[in-house]
């Protein structure tokens, strides 16, 4: 009988991670005091390249990467302490988020030596930013069905196809594009490859997609015979599926999967202050309890990743639980509006933003249906 119960052994932050947490809090307080940015949005919306560069200057990007590629060789739990604090403060992390979270690690793991030298140190300095090039108009959850195709030509590859929901493609420098380069095979997972594509190139078209909150973060990206040089292929041709799935544990287990609602919760708390009613205390307490469980599991996954394990299943579980929690909070804290005398502008703004962005929370990084399918497979049901 397979192990049917997922177990998350308890890990603790080492003292140096807690020391770093204090440094990050002090840094963020200084930045806010200087009026450099206002708390708001989240890792997918709040974009500020100069903030990302300041993090790079402090050695807070590429924290776990080797020094020879511009990294700082800190532990995964130190990086986790940093990302937690950045998210909890609603700092503008969107510019570097994808590059730091998954593009850099992908290049370090699968990229060529020249790719590692060319791109990774610049990511760690906060100079170049990356987008994810996976979804297409006809391929959302069913990623293996993508139709964007790369064909070998003299000196490289020519890409024809279209990507969609490409966050900040109009501002970022590169996208890592998944394209079909060969036969799909029976598993449909063969014949896929990843390419580093320059989003500023003249043969790449980036068009805006405005979301229902009225904001432009999404784009569609069109490749109409886009040329990419041979040295922009990441890893082996045909190995794209394995490479893409290796990014998932990083993508799904982090604190961004349960902290999207934190601004609403903190705004409510700040508004109520010492006069918080028992109803409000109860809601805050229930949220706190679930957050403790989620955070504990997230710490476990970071530690497992650092130990060289691939906790994909645990990551999927955390993301489903975390994003369901985030969405549930909106209704709970909306109902508490009449407990605030009067509701602050901060509370109302956070509530509106959370409400409008909520649908994206249980879609991005794997829909809840996909995640539950992964958990079910882990339970031996599929």
């Amino acid at each position: 009988m397979p192990a049917v119960v997922f177990h998350f052994p308890t890990f603790e932050f080492p003292p140096e991670a807690e020391a770093l947490r204090r440094d990050v809090r002090a840094f963020l307080a200084e930045e806010r005091a200087a009026g450099l940015w206002r708390p708001g949005g989240d890792f997918a919306t709040h974009y500020d390249p100069s903030f990302s560069r300041r993090l790079g200057e402090r050695g807070w990007l590429g924290m776990t990467w080797p020094e020879q590629y511009g990294g700082h060789e800190r532990s995964a739990l130190e990086r986790l302490a940093l990302t937690e604090e950045l998210l909890a403060a609603n700092a503008p992390v969107a510019a570097h988020w994808i590059a730091d979270r998954q593009s850099g690690p992908l290049l370090l793991r699968y990229g060529s030596e020249s790719q590692r030298r060319e791109f990774v140190p610049r990511i760690a300095r906060g100079e170049i930013f990356f987008s994810i090039g996976m979804s297409e108009p006809d391929s959302g959850s069913d990623l293996a069905s993508i139709r964007t195709r790369a064909t070998r030509v003299d000196g490289g590859w020519r890409i024809v196809g279209q990507k969609v929901w490409t966050t900040f493609a109009h501002l970022n420098h590169y996208a890592i594009v998944l394209a079909r380069t060969g036969d799909a095979g029976e598993s449909r997972h063969e014949g896929l490859s990843q390419f580093i594509v320059d989003l500023k190139a003249s043969d790449v078209t980036v068009r805006p997609i405005v979301n229902m909150a009225g904001q432009r973060e999404f784009n569609e990206v069109i490749f109409d015979g886009t040329f990419v040089a041979e040295d922009r292929l990441v890893g082996e041709p045909g190995n794209g599926w394995r490479q893409v799935t290796s990014e998932l544990a990083y993508e799904r287990s982090g604190p961004e999967r349960y902290l999207s609602c934190i601004r609403l919760l903190e705004a409510t708390l700040r508004c109520a202050g010492r006069d918080a009613s028992p109803r409000l205390l109860e809601a805050l307490g229930r949220a706190c309890a679930k957050l403790i469980a989620l955070r504990s599991m997230s710490i476990t996954v970071a530690a497992l990743l650092q130990n060289g394990e691939t906790p994909d299943l645990e990551a999927a579980l955390i993301k489903d639980l975390g994003s369901a929690f985030e969405r549930e909070q909106i209704g709970v804290f909306r109902a508490l509006k009449t407990e605030l005398h009067p509701p602050s502008a901060e509370y109302l703004g956070a509530l509106a933003e959370a409400t409008l962005y909520a649908p994206s929370w249980t879609l991005r990084g794997g829909t809840r249906e996909i995640l539950r399918g992964i958990v079910a497979r882990g339970l031996g049901l599929r």
Partner: protein, 294 residues
């Protein structure tokens, strides 16, 4: 790359001398009952009984045999047993112990299952914390048992020409239940690690137990809902095993919440803690920080 610097918090067997003594007495009582009288579910399974005794010896409790009469202290002591058992014995043994606990502490009337929990917290805070933690550990174990039973059942039971496990609706229901179980186990382990590292008098333990009581309380609702739903009518019978786990869960949760003064009080205390820390996040991070809490 630098060497990983990660500390795994290892649970240890004994919390303190008092609890160890309670555990010792209850454990030996269990073993003796099964061994000498052949009562309980293991009566017709000599191999399992021998295995139980081996476990008793392995744990260093053998010298306590034969047992003094600890019947009055039974339910509370058994909690501690389970706390130990989950980490010290194989899963099937933990399940046996769970069953033994159930049979020893409740009668045959279904209505008793939910309401026989003792609600009077022991005067000693150390023991009260251990008791609440023990209930959380028991709940975690029983949730896992109910989930395992359900996973086995949906693979065997066929409707519309295929196993229930093949239906996506069933898969997703059980995934949701598994997620809640994982959360309950994780937060219980966190409280356990705190108890082990800092003792029952730890300043942050009560808040972690409040949090565990809330998460586990919700987990029980989901498990009770999903596991019975996927079982259909058979799960609602006395002859099928699911009810043992369900009734354990309901009873233990009642007791856990009674020990904490009620689920609402748990939540309000945590909320007040966040207010006092001037933020949910600062409150939560300092609560989860071990050792040198400032």
């Amino acid at each position: 790359m630098p060497a990983p610097d990660i500390r795994i918090v290892q649970p240890v067997l004994a919390f303190d001398a008092t609890l160890e003594d309670a555990a010792r007495r209850a454990f030996s009582d269990l073993a003796e009952r099964w061994y000498r009288h052949g009562s309980g579910p293991a009566a017709d399974e000599p191999e399992r009984r021998r295995s139980l005794l081996r476990t008793v010896v392995d744990l260093g409790f053998a010298d306590a045999l034969p047992a003094p009469d600890t019947r009055d202290a039974w339910p509370d002591a058994a909690v501690i047993i389970r706390a130990q058992a989950r980490f010290a014995v194989p899963v099937d043994m933990a399940l046996l112990l769970a069953t033994g606990d159930r049979e020893a502490s409740i009668g045959g009337d279904p209505s008793e299952y939910v309401c026989t929990a003792r609600s009077d917290a022991p005067p000693d805070t150390n023991a009260a914390a251990a008791l609440a933690l023990g209930r959380c550990l028991q709940i975690s174990s029983a949730m896992q048992a109910a989930l395992e039973l359900s996973l086995g059942y949906v693979q065997q039971r066929k409707q519309f020409g295929r196993p229930l496990a093949r239906f996506q609706a069933i898969q997703h229901s059980l995934a949701i239940a598994a997620e809640e179980v994982a959360a309950s186990v994780a937060i219980t382990d966190l409280a356990l690690a705190c108890m082990v590292a800092e003792g029952g008098a730890s300043a942050r333990l009560p808040a972690l137990l409040d949090a565990a009581a809330i998460v586990a309380g919700r987990g029980v609702d989901v498990v009770y809902d999903v596991c019975h739903q996927v079982h259909g009518a058979i799960g609602f019978t006395r002859e099928y095993a699911l009810h043992r786990h369900s009734l354990d869960l309901l009873r233990w949760r009642d007791h856990l919440h009674a020990l904490c003064g009620g689920e609402l009080r748990c939540a309000e205390r945590l909320g007040a803690l966040a207010i006092a820390a001037n933020g949910l996040w600062p409150g939560l991070t300092s609560l989860m920080k071990g050792g040198d809490s400032e």
